[in-house]
């Protein structure tokens, strides 16, 4: 049951990320906008990351008939998702990500001090920091433009960050429900990112060359 739920949620994440990525790609293809190109890479990475975990689980259990799923699949999927989160954060400009002030360094550096015995934990930590950064930048943008869809995106990024944090924290309680809550939270986050697309007029999007 747990396995099925986990796989289904990862495949749902794959589909949602893919739709967002395709929309950004159509936008990039038609406008040549670097911003949409970065969002395109970001969402395709997130989608592929979820897909690697979801399809990896399916292949290992139903095709290869493994009893225990390899840990590296999860690590690889999370790593690819982190690339996506990086590009979302990078779109806002990475300059303020590494503060020059010694005081701020003393505050932010402990965030990087993480259990060093697991690549997965390191990746989750990086994802969390990138997503929190993206959330803060998006909230700042909301303060300026007061667009409702912006607050949905900020909520989505925040939920993704919370999902990564819960996923990381589930290492403390490995057999608990925390991991499923983590994936569910991430899917809810992706769903919130989907809202701006649902508000966009998609009719007439069929141009073939960059302007």
């Amino acid at each position: 049951m747990e396995f099925a739920l986990e796989t289904a949620l990862n495949l749902l994440g794959f589909v949602v990320g893919l739709v967002l990525g395709i929309f950004a790609y159509i936008g990039f293809k038609n406008t040549g906008s670097p911003t949409l190109f970065r969002l395109n890479i970001a969402f395709f990475s997130i989608s592929i990351g979820f897909g690697v975990v979801g399809f990896g689980y399916l292949v290992e259990s139903f095709v290869l008939n493994y009893v225990k799923i390899d840990v590296w699949i999860q690590t690889l999927g999370l790593g690819i998702q982190t690339v996506g989160y990086f590009f979302i954060a990078f779109s806002h400009g990475i300059k303020s990500f590494f503060p020059k002030s010694r005081y701020f360094k003393s505050i932010t550096m402990p965030l990087f001090i993480i259990p060093g015995n697991s690549i997965e934990h390191i990746i989750r930590s990086i994802s969390f920091i990138l997503l929190v950064y993206g959330t803060i930048e998006t909230v700042m943008s909301y303060m300026e433009n007061r667009k409702t869809s912006t607050i949905f995106v900020a909520t989505g990024l925040g939920l993704l960050a919370l999902g990564e944090f819960l996923g990381w924290y589930s290492a403390v309680f490995p057999k608990s429900v925390l991991y499923f809550i983590s994936i569910s939270t991430k899917i809810a986050g992706l769903g919130a990112l989907f809202i701006p697309i649902s508000q966009a007029p998609l009719r007439g999007v069929r141009f073939g060359s960059n302007v």
């Binding site: 936008g27 949409l36 998006t138 701006p196």
Partner: protein
């Protein structure tokens, strides 16, 4: 209030919007009118207009006195799609 930097794409969007919504008559808007309404220099506007005509997004009509430009059906569709993508990017606090 700080001046807002406009990207190349947003200037194109402004020009298309001007030719669609603010053209003084049915034959379209002339260059001087577009310079004033879209707030862009003559040199830059000329290059963009040439490209937009080539792409079929605006139509050029030549009369005795001056060239005029009006948005094509394809241009209207593009402008609608552009606004959708702009909304999408702005939702992330970004500009295209």
């Amino acid at each position: 209030m700080a001046a807002t930097y406009r990207t190349h794409m947003s200037i194109i969007g402004d020009i298309l919007a001007t030719t669609r919504d603010e053209a003084p008559d049915e034959s379209g808007a002339n260059v001087t009118y577009l310079i004033r309404k879209a707030n862009v220099s003559y040199g830059r506007l000329s290059k963009i207009l040439e490209m937009l005509v080539q792409q079929g997004l605006i139509e050029q009509t030549t009369s005795e006195r001056a060239c005029k430009y009006r948005i094509s059906e394809r241009g209207r569709e593009f402008l609608q799609a552009y606004r959708g993508f702009r909304e999408f990017a702005e939702s992330f606090g970004l500009r295209i």
